[in-house]
């Protein structure tokens, strides 16, 4: 097995003693937004977008489904924290405390070994962003969003919040108002990026919010793998993460977006991810949702062009105190499109895993195919699992398969493995790992290792 790049959960739980140049007042008002925009030296058009989003937010309603946001008091959240660091292309230039944080998380090492580029965000700002020279020479753009707003205003204007407009839902509006950090990626026509790009997001301050925006444009015939990781130390008060990912997969391009979400268990994770896929393009979402207190996340694929493809593979883990409302949405808008959804959830120690799925095959999507499978495994009697898959087929030349299963971890299987000498927690962890395997083997290897280790620890603590 390869060296352990990623560390166990307790090792995510450390605080960095970092200086900040600026922290905004708590809450989300016009003055905070104008301040933030000024500090970022943004062009006027972006400030206007923020203020429009704020307007949409102020008239928006709560989602009316999913996790309860009752304990989430937005007036207590610090929306913008600017660490005392510029953006650097060399880790040596990143302030020591922040560099050490990312070193503990294994990021620079992973970059040297297996990545084409890394962006690292500390609270509200990117502190490090770099891409291998040879890719830059091919025209690959990998920048923090703020720099992209200044350097590529036309591309940003054309694509930013076009897959998910601020009026889409309450938290999309909030995101549009206070977004900060995140990555901008442009892959030119026909360029196949041989190694993944990675973005890592770290929160370090209690009661803070992180609102990074990731915008990926994969031009015709290009190929990209993007990995996103995140973590935070555990605080007593709430943290809020309202990120957004927009991916534009142009003709015959392919993007694989992998996420391991491991926020601390005081975090509200209300995230929006959406891809628009043109003719012959492919989007693959690989998601591991492990951390946070409450999550709402439904990666969405809009199959807009003929023959577009989507694959959604997901694992959700809901441990003690966690309510994970995750799922997938696939909209087939064109003929000959296809999608595959395989999402699995595990709930343990009183955790609640809720699968919410939506598959829409429109009248125009003749000869489209889709297979949706959602499976839930409950480890004990206290845990909960629900699945609500909605399937809407509007033409009669489509082929749709669907399977939903909810089961409890079997005593017979556990006894079988224990009779060979494995302890109860080892046996259960092995069964859970086996259950996740079809998805976890698609994750980058170090994330799969990390996922397995987290499951082992959760099984140990849930059996006690």
């Amino acid at each position: 097995m390869r060296e352990e790049v990623f560390l166990d959960n307790t090792k995510f739980d450390f605080l960095s003693d970092t200086k900040y140049r600026f922290m905004s007042q708590r809450g989300f008002g016009e003055s905070q937004i104008i301040d933030m925009s000024k500090r970022k030296s943004e062009p006027e058009w972006m400030l206007q977008k923020r203020l429009e989003s704020l307007k949409a937010f102020n008239v928006s309603n709560k989602p009316g489904f999913g996790v309860s946001t009752e304990s989430l008091d937005l007036s207590r959240i610090i929306s913008y924290l600017d660490p005392d660091s510029d953006k650097h292309r060399s880790w040596d230039d990143v302030p020591q405390e922040i560099r050490e944080t990312f070193e503990k998380l294994g990021i620079p090492e992973a970059e040297r070994k297996s990545l084409a580029g890394v962006g690292a965000q500390f609270d509200s700002e990117i502190v490090y962003q770099n891409i291998r020279k040879e890719l830059e020479e091919l025209g690959v753009v990998f920048l923090d969003m703020e720099t992209a707003v200044r350097k590529y205003p036309e591309l940003v204007k054309r694509f930013f919040m076009k897959a998910v407009p601020p009026t889409d839902h309450r938290f999309a509006a909030l995101h549009g108002a206070v977004w900060s950090g995140g990555s901008f990626v442009y892959i030119p026509k026909g360029v196949k990026v041989p190694l993944p790009l990675q973005a890592y997001f770290r929160m370090n301050v209690e009661s803070s919010g992180q609102f990074e925006h990731t915008l990926i444009i994969a031009d015709e015939g290009s190929d990209l793998q993007f990995i996103e990781g995140c973590s935070a130390p555990r605080f007593n008060d709430l943290n809020l993460h309202v990120g957004m990912v927009e991916i534009f997969v142009l003709k015959d391009a392919k993007v694989r977006y992998s996420t391991i979400q491991n926020w601390s268990k005081n975090t509200y994770n209300l995230n929006t991810k959406r891809a628009i896929v043109e003719e012959g393009g492919t989007i693959e979402w690989i998601s591991g949702s492990l951390g946070s207190m409450k999550t709402m996340l439904y990666p969405t694929s809009v199959l807009k062009g003929r023959g577009a493809r989507a694959e959604h593979l997901g694992i959700t883990y809901a441990g003690p105190g966690q309510h994970m409302d995750t799922g997938s949405k696939v909209l087939h808008l064109a003929p000959d499109t296809s999608s595959l959804v395989d999402v699995r959830s595990i709930s343990a120690g009183g955790g609640w895993a809720f699968y919410r799925g939506f598959l829409d095959i429109s009248p125009r999507a003749m000869n489209s195919r889709s297979s949706v499978q959602c499976t839930a495994l409950m480890i004990d009697n206290e845990s909960r699992a629900d699945t609500v898959p909605i399937i809407q087929v509007m033409n009669d030349a489509a082929e749709v398969g669907h399977e939903a299963r909810i089961g409890r971890l079997g005593e017979d299987e556990t006894f079988y493995l224990m009779s060979r000498g494995l302890s109860e927690s080892e046996a259960k962890a092995m069964i859970v790992r086996g259950f996740m395997e079809p998805v976890s083997r698609q994750l980058p290897v170090e994330y799969a290792v990390e996922l397995n280790r987290l499951i082992d620890m959760e099984m140990e603590s849930s059996i006690g």
Partner: protein, 250 residues
Amino acid sequence: MNLLEVKNLHVVLAEDNEEILKGLNLTIGKGELHAIMGPNGSGKSTLANVLMGNPKYKITGGTLKFMNKDISRLTADERARMGMFMSFQHPQEIPGIRLRSFLISASQSAGSRDPLLKMSKEIDKLSLELGLESELLDRHLNLGFSGGEKKKSEIVQMNFLKPRFAVLDEIDSGLDVDALKSIALSINGFRNPENSVLLITHYQRLLEYIEPDYVHVLIDGSIAVSGGKELAREVEGNGYEGIFGSLKGA
């Protein structure tokens, strides 16, 4: 020395408290092979599961000792680590687990520090001996295995884990003659003066290839009659009804 000592054992199904074993006595010495025969529903599989510590069953009376130690409160893995093993009548099918890596983990749990490669080669060798296709070792555990392959996989596990005491629950059911012979051969190869085997079987067929030291007939939750290997033939000739009837008549 007695390896296993079961005295006046009473067992109920935890779910509904139905009594299944009703005062069972059984003593197995080191190096011995015992066979337990009995009609369906007599409690044979329950006995195997209780010996191994299946939590679906509850002991309500009597004693259960292994190597002079009361094991009635030990979990299955603790019993396994003391050297007990059970082969299942219906081995579980578990997706995502591979026999090879599972056996290596089990062996490591039991304290083995052997190099992985050595263990892996040993598993290959044991499978080859039994005629179990090695590609099955890296497929999902028992998923899509034929009846015979499942039983062979159980015996490979036994040979790899090298228990002191193995309970084989209807290892002969669902096997064709060739598979039966190769499994019998393997069980004979496993026997040595240091370990013991309890064969649980419905039919006498297996005992044509394996010579037991003792044969017991289990009827309605207790041992009705014990004897030498000739008892098995008697059962085959007269049927359980005949034996049960003659006992009642006596």
